[in-house]
């Protein structure tokens, strides 16, 4: 009986700790289901327009990677195709973070030891975490069901879709708890289990991209890779078309197996011990780690790799999208008529337009990558690590310019990889509607706006350090909203012009106006120079 009481207390404590976090996850996932279903009905209200989009998607592996498994053009099936893999990805992330937060993280901080010293023991807290995580995933399933039903989709299909999301979440709850036994740090457990969630997403993406379309052209059978992914299993329910329940046995079985393994390890190991210890670090530094720039590179490598992969993926997608759309029969539909009108008015090929649009998004990624280099300056200062560096023979200016150089290099790298991706996918296809050189021109056109997001936050950092991080992201968000989405919501051109992204040149194959780029480059260089000069007189500290 004591165990039941302890279980109830510990579950209550978990609910209390997570009440906001969990509410945001569950409501966020439910809202995503609702809004995406509503948006799809507004944008693609007709069966024919959905069928057209599906044909484009099936011809474009990059879209299938990001979306899902096409199972017909009905509104329910189309919504499931568009959004399920995201919902499942989010449920997986929520579950692994929850599992680690209430297991390894507690052991690491020492609070698990306090609990383990009470009659609750070592196993009851794990049971409470399991109960808590299961409840969270039931709520996620209900939220998805409610979201789809509220958007007017078939309740039966919505229930299958919700159950599939929750089942994927449960599978990763088990995976997260197992990783918490294997890894010695919460960072390691979080990182490895989140990587497994992403791996599941990518595996099903490969399965979808390599699937075989049926005769109708809107229904696919997934490739074998999908069968190695819990998210792929969820897709196999064919919600809204087949409404199959049996594939959900697979994620539930994975949950059971990983929980069983976690339980065996938990019963045998010491509190705080792990199967794999923390990886040892180097006893001595590599010869290259000898300058502020080398340190900045070391600290930023992870973030640069992340944004660069985003740039490469954006480039691959950009290069293949135009030919995929062109390959679809453009006979007679309103959507293609609009596209054709745009093509004629701009005098550019469809491929060129797609590359311009997607490169402007990649330009935001490049700007974010550069921005993070400047934000790191502030993080270093606030954490106190900058003091160690600046007490060595390193001038403030050398410190600042090191990060500015790194930021510039990473902005260029992200755009270079986007260009490389687009170039590679164009070169491997038979699409000759665009001069390949123009790909590099379009990539270069994004650089000045991104450099503004390096220079302006640097000036903020020098003049008003405390505001660096908040203002940095706010400026980028404002620039994206005004410059990239401003046109879609019909904002006044004067307001849109406040965003650097509005001044990015759009190469169209004939005459391109580069004046905006030169102006922005000049502003970025000037602002950066002012920041460097002012830095000479600035004190550094944690305040």
């Amino acid at each position: 009986m004591a165990e039941v009481a302890a279980l109830r207390i510990l579950w209550g404590q978990r609910l209390r700790r997570d009440r906001w976090q969990l509410a945001i996850w569950v409501l966020g996932i439910g809202a995503l289901a609702l809004f995406s279903a509503t948006a799809i009905q507004q944008t693609y209200g007709e069966d024919s327009s959905r069928a057209e989009i599906l044909q484009v998607a099936i011809a474009t592996p990059a879209i299938l990677m990001l979306r899902g498994l096409a199972r017909g053009a009905s509104i329910g099936a189309f919504t499931f195709f568009q959004i399920f893999s995201f919902l499942a990805l989010l449920a997986g992330m929520m579950s692994t973070f929850l599992a680690v937060r209430h297991s390894r993280a507690e052991e690491e901080s020492g609070s698990a030891e306090l609990i383990a010293s009470t009659p609750a023991g070592r196993l009851t807290p794990a049971a409470a975490t399991l109960l808590h995580g299961t409840a969270a995933n039931v709520l996620v399933a209900l939220a998805v069901f409610a979201g789809f039903t509220a958007a007017g989709l078939d309740p039966g299909g919505a229930l299958v879709a919700g159950a599939a999301t929750g089942a994927v979440g449960l599978a990763f709850l088990g995976v997260g708890l197992l990783m918490a036994q294997l890894m010695g740090t919460s960072r390691g457990a979080n990182g490895s289990s989140a990587a497994l969630v992403v791996l599941a997403y990518v595996l099903r993406g490969i399965g979808d991209a390599t699937g075989t379309p049926d005769a109708g052209g809107t229904v696919m059978t997934a490739g074998p890779a999908s069968w190695f992914s819990p998210i792929g299993w969820g897709q196999q329910t064919f919600a809204f078309t087949g409404d199959r329940w049996w594939p959900l046995l697979l994620p539930l079985a994975l949950a059971a197996v990983s929980l069983g393994a976690a339980w065996v390890l938990l019963e045998r190991r010491d509190s705080g011990a792990s199967v794999w210890g923390a990886l040892p670090g180097r006893v001595a530094a590599r010869p290259g780690l000898n300058s502020p720039f080398a340190l900045a590179l070391r600290l930023q490598t992870g973030s640069i790799i992340g944004w660069s992969l985003g740039g490469l993926a954006g480039g691959l997608l950009a290069g293949s999208l135009g030919s995929a759309i062109a390959a679809v029969d453009l006979a007679d539909s309103s959507a293609t008529a609009v596209l054709r009108a745009i093509i004629q008015s701009q005098g550019a090929s469809l491929t060129q337009i797609m590359i311009s649009v997607l490169f402007s998004i990649v330009g935001v990624l490049a700007a974010a990558c550069g921005l993070q280099a400047v934000l790191r300056l502030r993080q270093e200062e606030a954490a106190g690590t900058a003091e160690l560096l600046l007490a060595a023979p390193v001038s403030r200016i050398r410190w600042l310019t090191g990060y500015l150089a790194l930021g510039t290099a990473s902005v260029v790298l992200v755009m270079f990889l986007a260009g490389l991706g687009a170039w590679a996918s164009l070169a491997s296809s038979s699409d000759t509607s665009m001069d390949v050189w123009a790909v590099w021109e379009t990539a270069a056109a994004q650089l000045p706006a991104a450099l503004i997001y390096l220079a302006v936050p640097a000036l903020v950092f020098v003049l008003w350090p405390r505001a660096t991080i908040g203002l940095g992201w706010a400026l980028l968000a404002a620039g994206v909203v005004l410059g990239i989405f401003g046109g879609m919501v019909g904002l006044n051109q004067d307001i849109r012009n406040m965003s650097p992204f509005s001044h990015t040149p759009v190469p169209n194959g004939t005459t391109t106006d580069w004046s905006g780029a030169w102006w922005m480059l000049a502003i970025a260089v000037l602002t950066g120079a002012v920041a460097v000069v002012v830095m000479r007189q600035r004190e550094t500290g944690t305040a």
Binding site: T185, R187, A278, P280, G281, R282, V283, A284, A285, P287, G288, L289, N290, S291, P292, L295, R298, L299, A383, G384, T385, E387, L388, L389, L390, A391, A392, P393, V394, S395, R398, Q537, E539, T540, G541
Partner: protein, 332 residues
């Protein structure tokens, strides 16, 4: 005299708060100079100005003959600094951080091959401080983070070491290692400014001290000269001893008898005048306690503490005398 650090009327204001209020500090070559004061007295602010991390509102500072604000890079080639709360890069190992800081200081080449003097010294220090350099920065405890900065500082030859409460978080054994290594550095010809509130550490290591209070140096000099100005505490068993003869001595202050013991304070410089009287009285259970740095310290910070007031007695006059002496030293 070879002055390594000199500040003249150093002021540092943060808005209305006067963190430093006319600080005059002098550190001579080859000494270990204790910089004493409680939290918030301005120790760290002073060190940050001496490092060129902060700029003085007014007044001048000179370190190794250089202006710390405008010539900080040149200055930092000759000094090593250990902050009181060392923060490390979470994804760099301790060994990597030590190497990085040493390389930046120019104490070693990029190829820290085994067998070079730097590598040997680093290995020796890691062993002496019982430090595992192979862990990531985030995994170290407070004491181990201190060790990273201490090893990085001591692994290269610096002309001047600035230590800001360097042993916080270290256990007593490691404090002893720190003392030994600091003395070794001074033997090599280095100068040390040791900011601390651990009086025993300062008493063991330092020849001279400066006591800072509310942004000013309120007392300073050699430990002996400071002790001279304080009172030695004397007590013995009462046992019906007639203490009138003691009361007539001008070197004796605050004569009391309670709990079976007679107690008084004697001017430390005139203790010899008291001893014959004690001898003639034939006192038993005599205890003579020399003034500790702690007493000296309490004397300056004790004005909020009744106990300290009682121990010191007539603080106004004594402080005035000391101020006078300090002024004379400052000019000399």
């Amino acid at each position: 005299m070879d002055t390594i650090i000199q500040t003249v009327e150093l002021h540092k204001h943060f808005g209305r708060v006067r963190a430093l209020d006319g600080l005059n500090l002098e550190v001579q070559r080859g000494e270990i100079h204790g910089f004493l004061g409680p939290n918030g007295a301005g120790k760290s602010t002073t060190l940050r100005i001496l490092l060129g991390l902060a700029k003085a509102t007014s007044g001048t500072a000179s370190v190794l003959g250089l202006d710390p604000w405008t010539q900080s890079v040149q200055l930092h080639r000759g000094l090593a600094y250990v902050p009181g709360d060392v923060r490390l890069w979470p994804n760099l190992s301790g060994g990597e951080t030590i190497d990085l800081l040493s390389r930046l200081r120019g104490g070693t080449s990029g190829r820290a091959a085994e067998g070079t003097p730097y590598a040997q010294r680093k290995a020796r220090l890691c062993e002496a401080f019982d430090f595992d350099p192979g862990k990531k920065g985030r995994a170290y405890s407070k004491g181990n983070r201190q060790k990273v900065a201490l090893i990085a500082a001591l692994a290269t030859d610096a002309e001047l070491y600035l230590f800001d409460e360097p042993t916080s978080g270290l256990d007593p054994l490691m404090e002893a290692v720190f003392r030994r290594e600091t003395l070794a550095a001074v033997e090599r010809g280095a100068t040390v400014l040791l900011s601390s509130h651990i009086l025993s550490e300062v008493e063991v290591l330092c020849q001279r001290v400066s006591i800072i209070r509310a942004g000013r140096i309120v007392d300073g000099g050699t430990l002996d000269s400071l002790r001279h100005l304080t009172r030695t505490e004397v007590s013995f068993a009462a046992d019906g001893v007639d203490t009138r003869a003691l009361g007539e001595l001008s070197a004796v202050h605050g004569l009391t008898a309670d709990g079976g013991r007679v107690r008084f304070g004697a001017d430390s410089g005139r203790i010899a005048e008291v001893l014959p009287v004690l001898g003639s009285l034939g006192v038993q259970g005599l205890i003579i306690t020399p003034p500790s740095l702690e007493e000296l310290f309490l004397r300056h910070y004790g004005d909020t503490s009744v106990a300290a007031e009682a121990a010191v007695g007539e603080p106004g006059a004594a402080t005035a005398r000391r101020r006078h002496l300090l002024g004379a030293r400052g000019r000399g």
